[in-house]
Structures are given as C-alpha cells and as structure tokens.
Amino acid sequence: MTLRARLPKSVAAGGAALALLLSLSGCGGGSSAAGDDDGKIHVLVYGDSANKVEKQLIATFNKKSKVKAVLDTIPGADYQAKLQTIINSKQAPDVFFNWGGGSIKPFVDANLLMPLDDFIADDPTLRSKFLPSVFNSAMLEGKSYGVPMRGTQPVLLFHNKKALDEAGVKAPKTWAELLDAVKALKAKGITPIALGGGDQWPTLMWFEYLYDRVAGPGLFPKALDGNTTVWESAESKKALGMIRQLAKAGAFGTNFDSVKFTDKGSPTLLATGKAGFELMGSWEYSTQQDAHPEFAKKDLGYTTFPAVKGGKGNADNLVGNTNNFYSVLKKTEHPEAVADFLKLQYSDEFVKEQLGIGNLPTTTNTPDYFDKAASPEYAKFQFDLVKKAPSFQLSWDQAYPQSAATAMHQAVQQFLNGQLDEGGFIKAMQALPIS
C-alpha cells in the first residue's frame, strides 16, 4: 500500500490515450507492418513453446514461396489485449492466431477480417480436410473466418485411478454414478473433485457441460444471439439446481475459491490423491506429465462428462476450446500467398510436428500419425471423441465477446460459492453484452 504498489494511473490510462493518438494520427514505428507493405506476410501467433513448430512451417513455406512469411509472437496471457491494440494499426499482421468465436467477433464487426469463402471456393480442401464440428466454430454470420491450426482441446473428466479404486468406485458414466462417487470419496476423507475456483474459468466448465447435457446444445447459441429468456427456462434452472446439488454434497470441498489451476494447485490435489476428479481441458494431461510424470503414466484416468438421464443433450457432446485458428486481415497485400500458407495447416509435416509437441490437430489425416504423439492412446481417444461429437460447444467465455468474460466468470464463481442465488445468476447472464 504505498508508493511502489501503485499502478501509475496516468500511464495505464495514458497508454490507452496514446494509442488513441497514434491511431488517429496514424503514426508509430515498428518493423512489421502489413499496412506499408514490405513484400512479406506477417504471421502473428501466441508466444509459447509451440512456436518451434510454427517457425519450422514458415521455413518450409519460404522455401517454395516467392512472397516470404515472417513469424511474430506476442508472449504471455495478454495476447488478446495486445492484438486488439495493433490490429487496426499499421502494425497489423496479415494472418493471426485466435480462438475463433467471440475472440474475433469484434474484428469482424469492425470489418477488418477477410471471409475465407473465396479461398475455399478456389480450393475446397481448405474446408474438407478438417473435422466439420471444429471448422464451423470459426464461422460468423454464415461465413468462414478461420482455418484451424495447432490443436483441439476438449474438456474431459480426469481422475486419479488409485484414489477411485481405494474408495471402491468406477469412473462415472451417469450423473447418478458421479454423485455416488462423490459420496464414497467424501467418506474416505478426500476432496471428491479438485476445482481451481480461484481462476474462475475452471468453474465455468461445469456450467458448460451441465447446460449442454440438460438443455442440449441449442440453448447457448440462442442466448448468444440475444434471446436471453433461455436463461430463465426450466432446463436452465434444472442445470443450476444440479450444480447446486453437487456443491451442497461437498463435491468441491469448501476452499475451492482459494485453489487455482494456474499455480498447479488443483492438478497437485489430483496427483497426490487428495482429490478424486478434476474437470479440465485436455492440457491437464501435459500439465501432469510435466509436474507429476509418475502419476501421469500410471494413475491418470480420463473419461467423458457423465450422461444426464432425461436431459436433451447427447452424452457424446463436447465443450472446450474447439481449436485455435488462423484468420486473415482484409487489407493483406498478398492474398494468394496467404492462401498457400493456410493450406500448409493440413500438411503431413504440420500434423506430425503438432502431435510431437502434444497438440492434437483436427485434420482428416491426423489418425495416420498417432504414433508420433507423446501418448498415442490419449490422442486417439480425443480425436475419436471430437470426430463423433454431434456438437462441440466452444467455451462460453470464448464464444461471447471478450467484454463479457469478466462478468461471466464472476457470476459462475458467485453462484457456486453461494453469493448469488438462481435468480441473481440468471440476471447476471442476461445482462452480458453480446456484441
């Protein structure tokens, strides 16, 4: 609470204001600019360990292409914020990484992105080489805006085999079995389900799945289109009731709001047998391989989210991050080169390399290379799930525009810990901005 603990307000707000100045005056330096064409295409991606594959692909591309490609990265979690500040400036890339859905909606609304339908008309493989449920989640207003890259990340129910054995329960196939497992684990004195409530988005995963299982995949898109009455529907209330029932049964313990996934808190609970289950994106597997390799090899089990009897949703439906995508800026000077670059995203080389670093591409030729994956069995399990899923719902906080994410996260956290009742939660969801 003193001098050094402050956010220099003038700097933060001033940064925004300066960005405003720059965008108005159109000045600002920088090496990479699609605006003033330097004869190259700039590819902007999220900076992390996966970049080595992207670098390699670009090298491959540059061997054959007259127009050279350059890889730019924005490291860290503020990718979206930084992207938003440059995308309408001269530093804008030609092609950029995103999560599809709501993450690109503001750019589509601002008329910055190129629909890819012409590319697809020229070369239909650009669509047919990908699993449809994935490809479609980067469609907005009936047009395609993204080509899948990196991999798919469905949310799965992970468990500690040893802990479940000791409590005498099996991986649950139905909601009733899950409730029984929770009781049995609780009787053993361990937390039935590890939940990184401090991060808020792990809590959201429970809502996404229960809404899907109870109300079917139709409810959420309606809400996203502005039909907010669906939040008051009987199905919505039933799903909320089930979440409440689970929490009341002590499924998450009592201190879940102080636990995080991001600081390895909840994965460690699962690995050490202090918890039986964790609902998490497919990256849980690689997280455990890094942090608890022994456990990942021997005792880490995974299944789909249990079926709900009488619910409208198919038990094969998935939620999660459908994929990452490349989108293209309207003002790119080299559309042909960009189209050629996008076609590399289903090349054999791409699939092999992605599997090698633990990502799971969703191209139709992925199964040919499962042997290249760190865990072929796990890769195959996920791929088959995604392939046969009647519906693959993009994570809510990615499907809604970014401006809704904070309020949504707060609402699910407050509902689960009892600060909000059913009516309060419904109101909060109805108040979310949809554009």
């Binding site: 003193t2 050094r4 603990a5 956010l7 925004a16 300066l18 309408n88 409530g197 609970l269 970014q402």
Partner: protein, 327 residues
C-alpha cells in the same frame, strides 16, 4: 532575516521540513533563505524546465486525453465515438463502482492504521546505534528489495489452502479458504502490503528519529522522564512531519494498489476485492471499454487529490511549522 533563524542555523542540522519553507516566516522579501549559506538566492526557474516538460508530457497530457476519452465510447478498434455523459451515467448506476471506491478507501485506511504504528516503533527502535540493531534492520529491509509481483506470488504459494501454511495450521486457518471470503481476502491484501512496505516507512522514521536533537532527551532525563515518556513527549512530536509524509505516501499508494490484487485475488471472490484501480484495468484491458475505464481513472485522481488536500489541511503540513519550536 530574523536573528531567530540565524541562531537556529548554528544549532543542529535543520529538519528537512524547514528547507522547503514557503514565505511567511522568511525575510521581508518573502523569500526564505534555504539554508545553503548566507546570501544564496533560490535557484532560477530554468532548473525546473526538464522536470516540468517531463511531467507535462507523461502526466498532464495523458490526464487530459483520459478526461476527453471518458466522454467517448472506444473499444480500441474503430475511431472513438463521443457519447457525452453516457459513461458517467453508467458508472453512477454501477454498484460495483461504488463498492470498488469503498474498498479502495477501506484498504487504504487499514493500511495506514496497521503500518503507521508498526513502522514508527520499528523505526525508532532501529534508530539506535547498537550493532545488533543494525544487523537486524538490514535483514528486515529485505522485502523492500523485492518486486511487488514476486512478493504476491510468494505469499500466494505460502497461503495455498492444501499445500501451504493453512494446511499445517488448521486450528488457525480452518479450511484455509482465505481467498473465498471478503474479510479474509482483504486481510491477506493488507497483510501482504504491510509485509512489503512497512520497511520503507520504517526507513523514513529511522532517519527522522536520528535527526531528533539529543539535547532534548538529555534535558528530559534530567527532569526524570523515563523511556516511554520520552517517546510520547519528545520523539512522537518531533516525528510529526515524517508521519504526515509517510501517511500521504501510504494513502496515494493505497488508493492505487493494483498488482497485489491482480496476482493474489483477481478482485474475487466475485467482486469482493475489486478495488478501483483493478476495476479500471478490467474495464480497459479485459472488456475493452476504454471510455468507462478512463472515467474510473479520473474518479480515482479526484478522490486521491481530495484526500491528499484534506490531509495536508488538517495536519497543518502546508504551514510547514518548524519542529524545532520550543528549542
């Protein structure tokens, strides 16, 4: 120049406060002598130019721009649209904003209330010249060297409910859900800031306590005053200006606390620790609503200014009363 002030300069070094005297008690020309030797005038305006340019460029210009932005809707993509008072109207109907201002003030008040007595006692203790004090002080000042982010990450790990201290001391922490309730989450924030910043203020008080003339203590001893009495009747009154300086630092820092909240609580549970600076960040860099964020920023500037002015007024700091009076 009155003889009084001349006489004064021959005694112990003047306290820092008397260096920045405004007119009033100075010479007849209204320019106080700055104690730099007789006949030295105040430096010319020219010396202030670099600092003024810097301040204007990096504080005033952005402030004006933010003020302009607060009347506009801007998502960082398309050109800003002027929407008049919309942002402000929205804010005044926003329960989270009022809560955030209240939380900011609460954290600030708690910070001052906890840190001030602690740092005065520690500072006065550290002002002694015994060797063991010097060693202990050096160790104690270590938190000052660490970045706020590092300190926050460290405490987050220490306070982990399943693998940290709370798991070992269940009798004290219960289920360890420190970040799941408003009271305990605020408590953690105050504690971490205290842990990190008390040393800074201790340093201020150490310096100030060492500047208190020994003559006073000798006189008090002759009069038979004990240590406690000496502390309350000599040390504390002599520390008066340092207390005000330190408090102003704490208040400004407290109102703009940001990084501890970002790392420790993310404003949660719900919005229970969403203080104004963090709320501003959320609006700007999470929701891309730069207009509302600018309005919150301006409000924060206003609140901080008002509180600082009130403090300066109430404490008589603006009068710069010498602490040497009565000598």
């Amino acid at each position: 120049m009155s003889t009084e002030t001349l006489l004064k300069r021959e005694r112990a070094a003047p306290p820092p406060a008397s260096a920045a005297r405004r007119g009033g008690r100075g010479g007849p020309d209204g320019r106080g002598n700055r104690g730099g030797g007789i006949g030295v005038d105040r430096p010319g305006v020219g010396w202030a130019v670099p600092a003024a340019i810097f301040f204007g460029l990096f504080a005033l210009v952005p402030l004006v721009l933010v003020a302009v932005l607060s009347f506009a809707t801007w998502n960082g993509l398309s050109a800003p649209e002027f929407t008049g008072l919309d942002n402000w109207k929205k804010l005044f109907d926003d329960p989270v904003l009022l809560k955030s201002l209240w939380l900011s003030v609460l954290l600030t008040v708690l910070g001052v209330a906890v840190q001030t007595p602690l740092s005065i006692l520690l500072g006065v203790w550290a002002a002694g010249h015994q060797r063991n004090r010097a060693v202990l002080s050096a160790i104690y000042f270590v938190p000052l060297l660490l970045s706020v982010a590092a300190v926050s990450v460290l405490w987050r790990a220490v306070l982990d409910p399943n693998f940290g201290v709370p798991a070992q001391a269940k009798w004290l922490f219960g289920d360890g859900n420190l970040f799941g309730h408003q009271a305990s989450a605020v408590g953690v924030l105050v504690f971490v800031s205290t842990w990190q910043f008390t040393p800074l203020h201790t340093l201020l008080y150490q310096g100030a306590a060492r500047a208190v003339p020994q003559v006073l203590y000798q006189a008090a001893q002759i009069d038979g005053a004990g240590t406690v009495r000496q502390f309350f009747h000599i040390t504390l009154p002599q520390l008066r200006n340092s207390i005000i300086t330190s408090m102003i630092l704490m208040v400004v820092g407290g109102l703009t606390t940001f990084d501890t909240v970002l790392i420790l609580t993310q404003g949660g549970p719900g919005t229970d620790t969403t203080i104004s600076a963090y709320y501003m960040y959320q609006k700007a860099f999470k929701s891309f609503d730069y207009g509302t964020a600018s309005a919150i920023g301006l409000l924060l500037v206003l609140v901080a200014t008002v509180i600082s002015l009130v403090m300066v007024r109430l404490s008589g700091y603006d009068k710069m009363r010498s602490t040497m009076e009565g000598l």
